[in-house]
């Protein structure tokens, strides 16, 4: 699983799980510096608990995305607005 382009024997400063869970959001935002991002990916690849945790945060955002609503203005509200605009700019 080592990337041939990367030295595989470089010392790795391992993240603990309780550190990783606090990096999930910045990781999902794609805002981690490359070194930390790699530590996160390495950790997730080896740790079922954190892999699941990150996936559950993603699942949570998927459910959130499904709550979206938002209706257009009612025709009456729209007409009232246009009338006000007409009057105000006389």
């Amino acid at each position: 699983m080592t990337d041939p382009a990367e030295p595989s024997n470089e010392p790795v400063d391992h993240l603990a799980c309780n550190e990783l869970v606090e990096l999930v959001t910045v990781f999902l935002e794609g805002d981690l510096d490359p070194a930390t991002e790699r530590r996160v990916i390495d950790h997730i690849s080896l740790c079922d608990g954190c892999d699941l945790y990150v996936d559950q945060v993603r699942q949570t955002t998927d459910v959130l995305a499904g709550l979206s609503g938002g209706a257009p203005l009612s025709p009456a509200d729209r007409e009232r607005l246009l009338a006000t605009f007409r009057d105000s700019s006389g």
Binding site: E22, Y53, Q56, Q59, G70, P72, R78, L81, F85
Partner: protein, 231 residues
């Protein structure tokens, strides 16, 4: 719903200032649905949200001459919506405790893991204690969740998530709703709410952790119930 592309901001602002009704109708149609969603973050009913949007458009008409082009016109309009909706939401005594409606940092602390700043978002008891050979690693890792294949489950899960949202401190609720429910990007949310990128991220992080935890408890209870029902 395709609508003709809006002219650039400076042109659009000029048309509105000149009283061009076609241009006004165009922006009203293009932006009102998003404005209703934004207002709905702060107020408790669809009717209130519609009123906020009405009031916001009237404010836009009154003050379009003051639009200076420092932000996009849409962001400027959205800020007006957010301000009006926030005031109105504060008046409506909704489910959020009054103490969490303050804007200052530290006012949203409603218990461990729910505040805006500091403190772990996952119960420290779930990780091996310091001094343990696996200090900081999971002792009680998350259990897998069932897939959302059953329609009934999906509806229950949505209801659970909606309840979790309603229970969040106000600032967390606003940020996660804009980001994850309505799909605004980070820059837009920072601009509309006039908060820093770092602040936005902390609020989003704490909010997501809280909603995930609520779902985890829901699935744990569901699994326990199912286990009891098996003869």
């Amino acid at each position: 719903m395709p609508h003709t592309a809006l002219p650039p901001d400076d042109v659009l602002a000029g048309l509105l200032l000149a009283g061009d009704e076609t241009a006004f109708a165009q922006v009203v149609d293009a932006w009102s649905p998003g404005m209703v969603r934004l207002a709905r973050v702060y107020v408790s009913t669809e009717d209130s949200a519609a009123e906020v949007v009405q009031e916001a458009w009237l404010a836009v008409v009154r003050s379009i001459a003051t639009f200076a082009g420092r932000s996009s016109l849409r962001t400027w309009v959205y800020r007006i919506v957010a301000n009006i909706a926030r005031r109105r939401g504060g008046r409506e005594a909704r489910t959020v405790p009054a103490s969490s409606l303050g804007a200052g940092p530290g006012t949203d602390d409603a218990g461990p893991g729910t505040g805006d700043t500091g403190g772990p978002t996952v119960d420290p008891a779930r990780f091996a204690a310091p001094g343990h050979p696996f200090a900081g690693h999971w002792q009680q890792p998350p259990a897998p969740w069932p897939g959302p294949e059953q329609a009934l489950l999906a509806a229950e899960v949505r209801a659970e998530v909606a309840a979790a949202l309603a229970g969040l401190p106000a600032r967390q609720r606003v940020v996660i709703t804009l980001r994850d429910v309505h799909g605004y990007d980070s820059a837009e949310v920072c601009s509309i709410l006039e908060i820093s990128v770092a602040n936005q991220r902390v609020l989003l992080h704490r909010a997501r952790a809280a909603v995930r935890l609520r779902l985890e408890r829901y699935f744990d209870h569901a699994a326990a119930r199912a286990a009891e029902e098996v003869p």
